[in-house]
C-alpha cells in the first residue's frame, strides 16, 4: 500500500480532496494528519488543488511504503517504493 501523509492545516486541505477523486484512493486520519492511500500510484494535480507554490512544495509530511517520482508545478506523483 502506498501512503502519503499530509498535515491538516488550512492550506493543505485541497490536497487530500483532489487525491480522493481517484476511486482507488482512500483518505483516513492519523491524528492531525491525512493518510492518503492507494494500492498503487497516487497522483495529485497541482492546479486542481489551487495551492500556492510554497504550500505545494511543502505539503508532504511523510511517505509510507512510497517514493516521490514527480513533484513539480504540474503534479505530485507517488508510487510504491
Amino acid at each position: 500500500m502506498t501512503t502519503l501523509y499530509v498535515l491538516d492545516v488550512p492550506e493543505n486541505t485541497a490536497v487530500p480532496k483532489v487525491a480522493a477523486e481517484d476511486p482507488a484512493v482512500t483518505v483516513d486520519r492519523v491524528g492531525p494528519y491525512f493518510a492518503i492511500s492507494a494500492p498503487g500510484t497516487i497522483v495529485v494535480d497541482r492546479r486542481a488543488t489551487g495551492c500556492r507554490h510554497a504550500v505545494w512544495y511543502s505539503c508532504v509530511a511523510g511517505l509510507g511504503g512510497a517514493r516521490i517520482i514527480q513533484h513539480d508545478k504540474d503534479a505530485l506523483r507517488v508510487e510504491p517504493a
Binding site: L7, E11, G31, Y33, A61, G62, A81
Partner: protein
Amino acid sequence: MEHLVRGVDHAAFPTFDPAATVRFYRDVLGFPVVHSICAAGWGREQHPDFIHFFFDIGGGDRIAFFYYFGLEPVHDQPQGDAYAGFGADVPGWFVDSRHLAVHVDSEEHLMEYRRRLDASDWPVEMQVQHETIESIYTHDPNGYMVEITRALRPVTPQEDLDAELTIEALVEVASGPEPTLGKLLTRKAELIVERAAAWEEGVRS
C-alpha cells in the same frame, strides 16, 4: 527544561559603509537609533578604533553594527556581504540563506515598509507568500539580506507536532549515511504512525 531566554537583545554585524547603513535603517525604514559606543584609543594594531551602534527593531530588540575606522573591506569576492565573501560558483540561494527577518502585525504595515524601500536605493527584490507568512526582501547597504514578514494565520498546535517529528527524523537521517529527503519522509511516516494518533487523543482529553 525551563525556557529562560526572552528574545533577541541584539544581532550584530560589521559595516564598511556606516553612512549608508544609517540611511537604510534610520532614514528609509525608520528604525530609531537607540545606543552607540565610541571605542577609542585601544591601539590600531591590536584593536582599531570603532563605533558600535544600535537600531530599535521593535519589541525591545535591536540590530547593531560595528564600524572599524581605517579597516579596508576584508574580501573582494563577487558575492556575499561585509562579513563574508563567496565565489561566483556558490549558489545565490545558499548565500542568501543567512538573513535577518523582522515581523509586522498586518498586511498594511508590510506594504508600508514596501513603499519605504521601493522609494529608496534598496527596493524590494522579492515578495513571497510562504506557507504561513508573507515576506518582502531586500539587501541592505552591506549586502545582508533583510526580510520583513507578517503572519498569514496563527501557527496551529499540529504544526508544532509536525515540526517535532520532522526534526526527530532529520537528526536520525542526517546522522546516518547519505541523508536524503526521501529517507526523512519515510522515517517521519513511521513517527506519524507511532505518535500522531495519541497526540490527538491528548488534545481531546
